[in-house]
């Protein structure tokens, strides 16, 4: 914000100098403003150009404010943007702007002064522009025309090059590490996650106790990464409950999540060789209301006396309400979420908690599939890169060198 203020001031200074250096009369006859005694000057150096990186619905106008414009509206009360399909005539107002404005992106309708009809901006149509400065004294000074210029759509947004670079780089990393993992087999080291290991024991516990297992997929929508990770863990849990012949209860908060969870559990029971043990009653929809859901699940816990509760996915305020109830009921609880704010609650009430990314890593951890392990390694490598960038950026910026920032800044 500040820099643009300086820039503005600087620009005005230059204009004032230019104006002062210009021999009188060379700009033609200008009426003098009665109030200030300054000449009434129109906006200068109007340039109309296609707005870059847009869908073609926009033309960017830039001009230099006349020297009288100090942004307060005392001398110049504002500007009017005029658009026409013809360089000489038919200019219609498309925008009224406040004082101190030197840039406008035109994509709106212009009002026909006669009919009042709105004439919309049309992509790829050549337009001419003029900008009029409105003086407080009532004078209106119109700039010269700029154009013709067309609003064109771009196929590629060049401000997003850093994002593209990062994406391609990350993609390459993933592919590279997957290849590497394929060669090494599943020997890649993954830090053991106690919570993941303990899921089997928790299921065993439920089996020995002859009580059901509760699996909560959280409040996330089906496309949340946490929910996706949760499906993987659910598959594993379901396979084990099929194997151990233990009851599994999966109350859902979202209909689509429920459908996917049903499919997951059904497949898991099939893979475990007990398709007969699966029923649609295991995975069911409760409600999408947060606290009504809590009430229902807490009721389940207390009535069915679940021995083991698993919470994996997105959780909000309900995390503690669920896990504390489970804690009171004496169940073993394993949780994992990427909602950082809920982690303290889970840590203190659950036996095991997967923290943030650990949840995402769960599928790689459980499957030990080289493909998934490779992706995990790529992620670690990318994280190292980010760390290097952060340190480098901090050092460079401390010395006032900002090219790194320039390179990685995304201009929307």
């Amino acid at each position: 914000m500040q820099t643009s203020g300086y820039r503005q001031a600087f620009r005005i200074l230059i204009i004032v100098m230019l104006w002062a250096a210009t021999p009188a009369g060379s700009l033609g006859v200008e009426p003098e403003d009665a109030g200030t005694g300054l000449p009434v000057i129109p906006p200068m150096n109007l340039v109309a150009a296609d707005t870059p990186n847009d869908n073609g619905n926009g033309i960017t106008l830039r001009w230099d404010c006349p020297p009288g414009d100090d942004g307060s509206g005392a001398v110049i009360s504002g500007y009017v943007v005029l658009r026409s399909e013809n360089s000489r005539e038919g200019y219609l107002e498309t925008a009224v702007l406040g004082p101190g404005t030197a840039k406008y992106i035109d994509n709106g309708p212009a009002a026909d002064p006669v009919t009042g009809e709105k004439i919309h901006f049309i992509r790829n149509k050549p337009y001419y522009y003029r900008v009029a400065a409105r003086y407080a004294s009532g004078y209106r000074a119109v700039s010269g025309a700029s154009g013709p210029v067309q609003g064109r759509a771009q196929w590629f947004h060049d401000g997003k090059i850093p994002v593209l670079t990062a994406t391609v780089l990350f993609f390459a990393l993933v592919i590279l590490y997957i290849q590497k993992a394929r060669l090494q087999g599943s020997e890649l080291y993954v830090r053991p996650i106690a919570g993941m290991k303990e899921i089997d024991n928790a299921i065993g516990r439920a089996t020995e106790m002859g009580r059901p297992i509760l699996y909560v997929l959280g409040l996330g929508s089906p496309e949340d990464i946490a929910t996706i990770a949760s499906y993987t863990i659910l598959a594993r849990v379901a396979r084990k409950t099929a194997e151990y012949r233990t009851e599994l209860i999966v109350p859902c908060n979202e209909p689509i999540v429920m459908t996917i969870a049903q499919e997951t559990v059904r497949n898991a029971y099939m893979e475990a060789g007990h398709p007969d043990a699966y029923s649609d009653d295991m995975v069911f929809f409760v409600t999408s209301m947060q606290f009504a859901y809590v009430a229902a699940v807490n009721g389940l816990m207390l009535r069915e006396k679940t021995a083991t509760n698993c919470y994996f996915g997105k959780f909000y305020a309900e995390s503690l309400l669920l896990s504390e109830t489970g804690n009171i009921a004496g169940s073993i609880q394993v949780a994992g979420t990427d909602e950082v704010a809920q982690l303290p609650f889970f840590v203190t009430t659950c036996d095991y908690t997967l923290i943030g990314e650990e949840l995402y890593a769960a599928s790689a951890y459980l499957g030990r599939d080289p493909l998934l392990l490779g992706a995990l390694k790529a992620q670690d490598f990318a994280k190292a890169l980010v760390m290097i960038l952060i340190v480098a950026g901090a050092v460079l910026m401390s010395f006032g060198i900002d090219w790194l920032l320039e390179i990685i800044t995304v201009r929307m």
Binding site: G204, E208, M209, G210, R211, R245, I332, T353
Partner: protein, 618 residues
């Protein structure tokens, strides 16, 4: 038992092993007011043909005792003279047995890592060999499990599963499996197989309904009443009873032997476990005992469970780690480089293989040359190490236990998989079995035990001199005082104390400053990484010592924390092991390795160094 413990003055105990029957005599020393083991006799076991009567061997061994002690122990009918007088007879006679392959069991539980594992622990603790563990989740189909039960023909089955009030269906399913298999005992055709049910109380009715007809079902308290607690005692006792009633009844001569004994006959490993557990309990020690045999290696331990801070006894049998019948398997499991790292001279693979095969073909041979002794002891180190690794993975905290978390756990969360074996807490390490008990020098036993078990901090080392732990185990059931006194005074030969700082320190950097007040004067100095030192301190002698580990090292009080203590001597003395824990890696280069090995062996006076160096040059 009708006798009061204080009336017992003379005790005869025998252990009927598969090859020899060993008898010992324990007498009360009125002057010193303590029990001591006095004489020992040995005779071949006579279970198999031509004798087919175990009592013959027992009597032979006792008559040897009689001859040695000059005390009349047998009457004219060759019966043990009960009721002692100052010159003849004994007050009680007790025995253990491992003849006829010991007690072979099969156990079953619901979840492999929970009730099935507890059942396994109970059976092993009772001294059984566990042939197989059946669990609801062992990835076998029912018909495979049934087939397995039929095929193995165990002496006994221990069925558990479900906590009290827990699952019934799984347990009943297991009972049905056993029922469907309709197993017959290994010995004694026509008898019903004993099955002990130690599972969910609520499922008793269903289980007996399913099994009563086909097997001899006995019901005891649940061995896992809640997941947080194991209650192995009742099941273990019942296994001993059933061992007596069923298995022993069938073996030749045992009926007679059982009439003689004043206390139930115990399976040998069960008895060893009993004495170790008793001693640990009585003296508040954490103990590891190992018995390395020809075919198997048994490891016993008592460690405090970090979860509930109670001592827990564990026994494992490594069925394929033995110094004769299964010596080839040691090579296979340990791999050649791991064995050869302990050999202090160059040896090629063929030579090593030949020696191993020879030992397998002629199991009773004893090394005749220093060369073969060193090789055998290298193999023993690996056998012991592997057995201990297995033991550690079995001796774990209970699984499936609810944890109470605090914010401190946000940073580290440990699973319940953890072993309870914490070497830093170990007080006493006891070795037994030929290769350890009968090593030409005790220094060799010490070195083997340190290399294999890697004790941490301050640990006393001992060996069982004449293998009387089984006898004392049975005795401990009758007369705990006598048993523990004899155990500490006569059974154990103290080798000394090992002081090993934990930590990884760079080569030849300072590890620990020591100052030991030996009877012959104070010894002070600095232990360096990779160095082993020996200070003589005799049996029964004590020395006060101060150990000051450097920043990264720990001798039990924490990193860099000074320890002031009293150390006990032994036939070897005090051993300062500066090789770090985990044990420093052995150089890849052969010469460097041998050089390093030689320096340790020389300092610890393990072998005759001139002879050994000659071997290296040859």
């Amino acid at each position: 038992m009708t006798q009061k413990p204080e009336d017992i003055k003379v005790i005869i105990a025998t252990d009927c092993g598969s090859t020899t029957t060993k008898a010992i005599l324990i007498q009360y020393d009125e002057e010193k007011g303590e029990y001591r083991q006095t004489y020992r006799g040995e005779a071949p076991t006579t279970v198999e043909s031509p004798f087919e009567d175990v009592t013959k061997g027992v009597l032979n061994s006792i008559s040897e005792l009689s001859e040695l002690s000059g005390r009349e122990l047998l009457d004219e009918n060759n019966m043990i003279l009960k009721k002692s007088s100052p010159s003849e007879g004994a007050d009680i006679y007790i025995s253990t047995s491992s003849a006829g392959g010991g007690l072979q069991m099969m156990v079953a539980g619901v979840v492999r890592s929970m009730t099935a594992e507890s059942a396994e622990r109970a059976a092993l603790g009772a001294g059984a060999i566990v042939m197989d563990v059946i669990a609801s989740n062992d990835h076998r189909l029912p018909h495979e499990q049934i087939e397995r039960i039929r095929q193995l023909r165990p002496d006994m089955i221990l069925l558990s599963g479900g906590i009290d009030g827990g699952t019934k269906s799984h347990v009943v399913d297991l009972a049905e499996l056993i029922s469907a298999a309709d197993p017959k005992p290994r010995l004694g055709i026509g008898f019903k197989l004993p099955v002990i049910y130690a599972g969910n109380r609520d499922a008793r009715e269903e289980v007996s309904g399913t099994l009563e007809e086909k097997v001899d079902l006995v019901i005891v308290d649940n061995l896992r009443p809640v997941l947080e607690k194991e209650n192995l005692g009742p099941a273990r006792d019942k296994i001993h009873d059933m061992f007596m009633e069923h298995v022993m009844q069938q073996a030749p001569g045992y009926k007679k032997l059982m009439e003689w004994t004043d206390s139930p006959i115990m399976p040998t490993p069960g008895a060893v476990g009993a004495i170790i557990e008793r001693v640990a309990q009585l003296y508040d020690l954490q103990v590891v005992g190992v018995d390395i045999g020809g075919a198997t290696t048994d490891v016993f331990s008592v460690f405090v469970d970090p979860e509930d801070e109670k001592p827990v006894f564990n026994r494992t049998v490594s069925a394929n780690l033995g110094m004769s019948y299964s010596i080839s398997n040691i090579l296979a499991e340990a791999t050649l480089p791991n064995i050869s790292r302990w050999v202090p001279f160059p040896i090629d693979e063929r030579e090593l293989r030949n020696q191993i095969k020879n030992k397998m073909i002629r199991p009773t041979t004893i090394p005749q040359t220093l060369h073969s002794l060193a090789v055998e002891q290298a193999i023993a180190r690996e056998a012991l190490r592997l057995a201990f690794v297995q033991h550690k993975s079995f001796a774990t905290t209970l699984k499936g236990v609810q944890k109470q978390r605090t914010i401190a756990d946000a940073f580290v969360q440990t699973g319940t998989e953890g072993t309870i074996v914490n070497m830093m807490n170990l007080d006493l390490l006891v070795g037994s079995g030929g290769v350890l008990s009968h090593a030409p020098r005790r220094n060799q036993s010490a070195m083997m035990m340190i290399d294999a078990f890697r004790p941490e901090g301050i640990t006393r080392l001992a060996v069982d001199s004449i293998f009387m732990m089984p006898h004392l185990g049975v005795l401990s059931e009758v007369h705990p005082k006598a048993a523990t006194e004899v155990f500490l005074k006569d059974c154990l030969v103290y080798i000394g104390t090992c002081i090993a700082p934990v930590g990884q320190i760079k080569e030849s950097k300072d590890v620990m400053k020591y100052s030991i007040d030996l009877p012959q004067g104070r010894q002070e100095g600095m232990l360096r990484q990779g160095e082993m030192l020996l200070f003589p301190l005799g049996v029964g002698e004590k020395a006060s010592a101060v150990f000051e580990p450097t920043g990264k090292a720990d001798v039990g009080a924490g990193k860099g924390t000074r320890v002031e203590t009293v150390v006990h001597g032994g036939v070897v003395g005090l051993i300062l092991d500066g090789r770090g824990r985990p044990l420093m890696t052995v150089p890849d280069d052969k010469d460097a390795r041998i050089q390093q090995m030689l320096s340790w062996l020389e300092n610890l006076k393990v072998y005759n160094m001139d002879e050994l160096k000659a071997l290296g040059r040859a």
